[in-house]
């Protein structure tokens, strides 16, 4: 089961706080490695709140926790807090404005049995 979404990255004060406490902490990972999905999309995927999903596109793939949105319905639209996890999915081809698509990331979401991607792995991928 796979769902196509457009991801918009946003800022969160608690995740920001966790970042200041420590980049390699469990707290920072838990608050960052999340994707907020519309209730309908969660049902279509067959995942419950907190279950892991693979978020993937032609750039990369990350395993994060799915969270049910408490906003008005927004099927097809997903939200991730701005973090190394969300940025691994952003394309680097830009038009002349050179502003990458942080606020319009196309990706496919599917349930996953793998563990949430660790930040050390995100770093490794960049150094490989």
């Amino acid at each position: 089961m796979e769902v196509e979404v457009t991801i918009v990255a946003f800022q969160d004060i608690f995740q920001n706080e966790a970042r200041k406490k420590g980049l390699y902490t469990d707290e920072y990972r838990q608050l960052s490695a999340q994707i907020i999905l519309d209730k309908q999309d969660m049902t279509r995927l067959g995942v419950k709140d907190g279950q892991r999903v693979l978020v993937k596109n032609e750039v990369c793939g990350v395993v994060v926790a799915a969270k049910t949105s408490d906003d008005e319905p927004h099927p097809g639209l997903a939200f991730m807090i701005n973090s190394p996890w969300s940025n691994q999915l952003v394309r680097d081809d830009v038009c002349d404005t050179s502003i990458p698509g942080f606020k319009k990331i196309a990706a496919r979401v599917s349930p996953s049995e793998e563990n949430v991607t660790q930040i050390s792995e995100l770093l490794q991928r960049m150094r490989a």
């Binding site: 004060i13 940025n87 606020k103 770093l123 960049m126 150094r127």
Partner: protein
């Protein structure tokens, strides 16, 4: 006076009680600012070369060596440095014939340029508090990124002409793709716009203001919005990154909107930037070169364009100095990867993905806590800060001076 450098509000009413070298009580710091102050004590960097700890002098020496022998060096970051350090950085870039760019390049740069070059009118935050009766947050969620913006200036405080404040004399409007915390505070003045459709939304507002029927959005609500904007005496638009990334090259629409609104009343624009001194860098570079970011001094000339943006330069450079920024966390995968593979020098007070991948790491002081200097607030007001903790860490300015001497 203690100043918080956690965001570009640069709050100056912070009170600290210190005990045994740590903070035992802090007053008036928001959650973000408090975390910023406490960050002084965790995950600090040490001077390293290729992962091995060395002396500070050795690290600085190696950095100078790398930069001197590079043919296409990139100097990137800057928005977390003081004005003095930024000036030193621009000077260093000139001497090296390097490309210099800051975090505004892939973020608020376009908006900042409009404001700094006078293409859209702006005002101070004190003007907002004293006169604004309408604050519009567009693609921005200050409750999370600039927590005290609403309580200090934009919505809740009393001002000279707004003694009855939010209860009777001020309204807040939020335009966003999601119902953010700020949008919730704006109650019935929240307008939801799908990603990438802000241009259509602006065109609809322009239509309504011209007495025409809007083609985009709920007609009734758009007309309501038009009425509110028309009745405004002194409006302030706070565009965030959400608006910029949606409009992309269509920023002329924002200029048109500001112009239209100013035909019927007073309407100012204050872009919500990333780090505390992004505006400072943009202003300094503009004064020196005529451009707010993305400048190459190669061959003794001043070249500006998309090729000089960090997005392109990361792939073309043969060495990069990253100062007070973490592009490996913040930039798209491809760009981050290019930087990780180059000869990377990182100047940072704390560990980041960038310092973890860098060849040379130079630990620096946290401004406002361990080092003094000056910076420009969100609205351009110059704010000065002092060191509170004497830790012996060098400031960005001092490090850059030493690098220049070594070159």
């Amino acid at each position: 006076m203690v100043v918080c450098t956690g965001c570009s509000l640069l709050c100056e009413d912070i009170e600290l009680v210190l005990k045994d070298g740590s903070i035992s009580q802090a007053k008036n710091l928001c959650r973000k600012g408090y975390a910023h102050f406490q960050a002084l004590f965790t995950e600090r960097t040490r001077p390293t070369i290729d992962g091995k700890e060395v002396s500070l002098d050795q690290a600085i020496g190696k950095a100078a060596e790398i930069l001197k022998s590079a043919e296409r060096p990139l100097l990137y970051g800057w928005s977390n440095s003081s004005l003095e350090a930024q000036a030193a950085g621009i000077d260093l870039a000139r001497r090296l014939g390097a490309t210099i760019d800051d975090t505004s390049s892939f973020c608020q740069g376009i908006l900042m340029e409009l404001v700094l070059t006078g293409k859209v009118p702006t005002c101070t935050l004190d003007d907002v508090r004293n006169y604004a009766d309408t604050s519009v947050f567009w693609g921005a969620d200050p409750s999370n990124s600039y927590p005290r913006l609403l309580s200090r200036f934009a919505y809740y405080p009393r001002g000279e002409k707004r003694q009855k404040s939010y209860e009777e004399e001020r309204i807040c409007i939020a335009v966003d793709v999601r119902k953010s915390a700020t949008a919730r505070l704006c109650s019935n003045y929240y307008f939801r716009v799908p990603p990438g459709q802000d241009a259509e939304f602006i065109e609809s507002i322009l239509a309504v203001l011209d007495g025409k029927i809007p083609r985009f959005g709920d007609k009734k609500r758009m007309i309501e919005l038009g009425t509110v904007l028309r009745k405004t005496e002194y409006g302030v638009l706070f565009p965030g990154f959400g608006m910029v990334s949606s409009l992309q090259e269509k920023t002329d629409l924002l200029v048109r909107l500001a112009a239209k609104l100013n035909e019927m009343s007073t309407f100012k624009v204050i872009p919500i930037v990333g780090h505390y001194n992004m505006r400072g860098f943009n202003q300094l570079l503009l004064d020196e070169t005529g451009f707010i970011n993305r400048v190459s001094f190669q061959g003794g000339k001043v070249i500006h364009g998309p090729e000089q943006s960090v997005m392109a330069a990361a792939k073309n450079c043969d060495a990069a100095l990253v100062i007070g920024a973490d592009p490996l966390s913040a930039l798209p995968f491809g760009t981050a990867r290019a930087l990780a593979k180059t000869s990377l020098i990182a100047i940072d007070p704390r560990q980041t993905l960038t310092t973890n991948a860098a060849r040379v790491v130079i630990p620096s002081a946290m401004y406002g806590l361990e080092a003094g200097g000056s910076s420009l607030r969100l609205d351009g007001a110059k704010i000065e800060f002092e060191a509170i903790f004497k830790t012996g860490n060098l400031s960005d300015e001092q490090i850059l001076t030493r690098i220049k001497e070594a070159i």
